[in-house]
């Protein structure tokens, strides 16, 4: 498997890495552009997070070579990570409740 991956890496060439690098730079630049847009902070947050997720996906698939690993491993990493990350989102509603002031801040 290691040999197969190694051969694959050699045959791919540096071109693909450069393309991914330029894409990542462009996406990082896009985040900076979004930061200066005159929009609602929640909208800004959603847009920036979406761009960051695309960046992370590109980095994982091509820089970390997850794309050339076995599909079962790719699924293991993606499903496990996404499931736990989603599990961490349960607290947001409570943070908004702190802002709106009910019931704790009275």
């Amino acid at each position: 498997m290691t040999t197969t991956t190694a051969e694959q890496h050699k045959s791919d060439g540096i071109g693909k890495d450069l393309i991914v690098y330029v894409c990542l730079l462009a996406l990082a630049g896009l985040q900076f552009v979004i930061a200066y847009q005159n929009i609602d902070p929640s909208q800004m947050f959603v847009r920036m997070l979406a761009v960051a997720c695309v960046e992370a996906g590109l980095a994982e698939l091509f820089f970390m070579h997850l794309w050339s690993e076995k599909r079962s491993f790719l699924l293991f990493v993606v499903i496990f990570t996404v499931a736990v990350l989603l599990g961490m989102q349960y607290g947001w509603s409570d943070s908004f409740r702190m802002v709106t002031g009910a019931p704790f801040s009275k």
Binding site: M1, K10, N38, M64, M88, S95, V99
Partner: protein
């Protein structure tokens, strides 16, 4: 067939089954570490978001994006140099792999220095872990915790890059070790892509 034969056969089957997911053990261990570390950073960022949402006076102390943009560029470029180093190692170019690994480490050092310069600037403006002149005191605690955790990862990565590079040059490590270290370095880069928008860009002074 005796019970002993059955047991031996069972063991034999287990031993020859090959590594999990058919990837080398070191690489699998690094991936498992990365998944675990993802949870650590995610927990920190979610906690940061919770505090930011829950505070009506969250400060926006960043006036300029120049420093953070430069840091992002350097870290992304270091990922590319790491890849070039790995390619050289795979191609058997030992000198090239060592050179690119050290270039990656140097870029990591430059990133860390820029990060420290930014910290010193904020500390100079009166920001500490427990207070700041702009608003909610928790901003300092969350900012230094998240960026400090990331900076710790970068520092460890730089040390590992130099150590693995030297051992690779000395013939004690091979291209697989460079690849495993590369996974870690790309992960540090990946985390920065989330830290920048959440901690810096959402707190820009407009």
């Amino acid at each position: 067939m005796s019970q002993a034969d059955l047991t031996m056969e069972g063991h034999s089957t287990g031993l020859t089954a090959g590594p999990v997911f058919s990837i080398p053990t070191k690489k699998l261990a690094m991936w498992l570490f990365i998944i675990a570390d993802t949870m650590t950073f995610a927990a920190c960022l979610v906690a940061y978001g919770f505090l930011r949402n829950g505070s009506p006076s969250w400060p926006r102390p960043f006036h300029s994006i120049t420093n953070v943009a430069l840091m992002t560029f350097i870290l992304l470029t270091s990922s590319l140099t790491m890849l070039v180093g790995l390619r050289s190692a795979r191609a058997g170019d030992k000198a090239g792999a060592f050179r690119w690994t050290i270039i990656t480490a140097v870029l990591g050092i430059v990133f860390a220095l820029l990060h420290l310069r930014e910290w010193m600037g904020l500390i100079g403006e009166g920001m500490t872990m427990f207070k700041n002149p702009w608003g909610d005191p928790l901003f300092g605690a969350s900012f230094f915790s998240i960026t400090g955790l990331h900076l710790t990862h970068v520092t460890c990565g730089v040390i590992a890059l130099i150590a693995v590079g030297l051992r690779y040059k000395g013939g004690r490590y091979n291209a697989d070790d460079i690849e495993v270290l590369g996974l870690y370095w790309h992960f540090v880069d990946l985390v920065w892509m989330f830290v920048v928008p959440l901690v810096y860009l959402l707190n820009l002074t407009h």
